[in-house]
Each structure stands twice: as C-alpha cells, then as structure tokens.
Subunit: 141 residues, 2 copies
Amino acid sequence: MQKKFRSPCAIASTLDVLGDKWSLVLVRDMLIKGKKTFKEFSSSPEGIATGILASRLKLLESYGLITKRKLPDNKKENIYLLTEKGIDLAPVIMEITLWGDKYMRAYNEELSSYEALKKDKTVAINTVQKNYRQVVAQIIG
Amino acid sequence: MQKKFRSPCAIASTLDVLGDKWSLVLVRDMLIKGKKTFKEFSSSPEGIATGILASRLKLLESYGLITKRKLPDNKKENIYLLTEKGIDLAPVIMEITLWGDKYMRAYNEELSSYEALKKDKTVAINTVQKNYRQVVAQIIG
C-alpha cells in the first residue's frame, strides 16, 4: 500500500497517519487501558463520536497498527488489538505523557499524576509493552 | 489561561493542543532546521497554507511554546523562537522520528535516513537542544 505523503520527513509522514486528536488516544486506550471493543473505546472520558471512532479504527487497521478479529465465543463483537507496530508507539505515548505532565498542568488542573512513569521511563515503557503482549497472547492463544 | 480539555489524561490534553498534522512539523522546522520566519516556515516541503500557518503559530504562542519578536535591525519581519517548553518537545519529536523511520518507510519510499538519531537517541536529543539554545542566545543576546 503506497499512499501520498507530504515530504520525505519521518515526522511529517508519521503525522500524515497519526496527526490528529484521536489516533494516539485510541492507542492509549488499547495499550495502557487494555480496551479492545468499539463499545469500550466509546466509553472513554474523551467522548469520541462513533463516526470518528469507526474511521480512526479503519485508518489504524489500514496501516497495520491494529488488527480486527472476532473471538470464537462471541461472533457478534469485533476485538481490536495492537500489532507490534502499534505496541512500538509506547515510547511516543510516554514522551507525550511526560511532556503533558510537565506543561499541561498549568492549563488543565484536573490532570492525572504519572509518578511511575516519571520515576523510570524505560521500566514504564517495558512494563506496558510486556503486559500488553501477555493480554494479546491470552486472547489469540 | 484555563482552557477546555477532554479529560484529565496528559496524552489527550497534549493532543488537544498539538494533535494535528502541522504543529509538530513547525516545532521540527524551528528546533531541527533552525527556521525562524513566516516565510521560512512557508517554504518547507510540506507546503503549509498561509492561513493554517498563521493559526498554528498563534496557537503555539498562546500556550507559551514559542515567542514572537522583532529584531532591532529588522522591524518588518517577526521572528519566532521556541521557548524551553517548546525545546522540551525534542524527545517527543525524536521518538516520532524513530517510529516513522522504522515503520513509514514501507509506505513512503522517499523517507529520509536518520542514522545519528538511531545510533544514540540521547546524544541526538541533547545536541539538538543545545544547538537551538545557542541559536536563541545569539539572537536575543
């Protein structure tokens, strides 16, 4: 799949895919919160509209960041899981979190705290990735 | 300045500000390419429209990521410089670059190479930040 990109820059090209308010929030939902279904993503506090959610899931799937499947015991509901490519976004997610923790608190006084991540970034990234891979292994066997 | 955010999540809150295709490309233009003027940003290969450029510069300024000033010897042209808050986006920028280098090459065959960054991320981040601070010091004295 060859698509149209703005330039040879890796930042611009990545943002051609992930540069919106929702894609990385969905990666967060899967990677950190362990969410897997359309219904679970819809229930996140950010309140994503179902049309946007559907289009973002399709986008992430088209770039191989997530897979969509049905479980043997539930043929009605789709399960969305991050691939290794998606799991590899953990360092991006964590650096955004650290920056937000440091600078967005001045604007959003409700901001959560991120003590474990601030204490050891590498451990936090490895833990989140390892835990997610275990979840995937349990689901797809 | 208290603004409206979607949730207490640092990722979502950061993306409320920077979650678009252009804001981090402009931070890249300043931090890595040393661009400082509206004209220089306009000439980047991504081809940002002037209206979007103006609105993104205003947004970045409103959150204290950049400052706008005029130089004593050129009263006509505005100079945009990253603040420490903006310079602190270097780890986010670099992780996005590394992810893009690894995974976007399959879709964008023109992608640049990032050997220095891949060799030592910490050195690359520190070098870029140090060089930019020197540029700022030379300009604002």
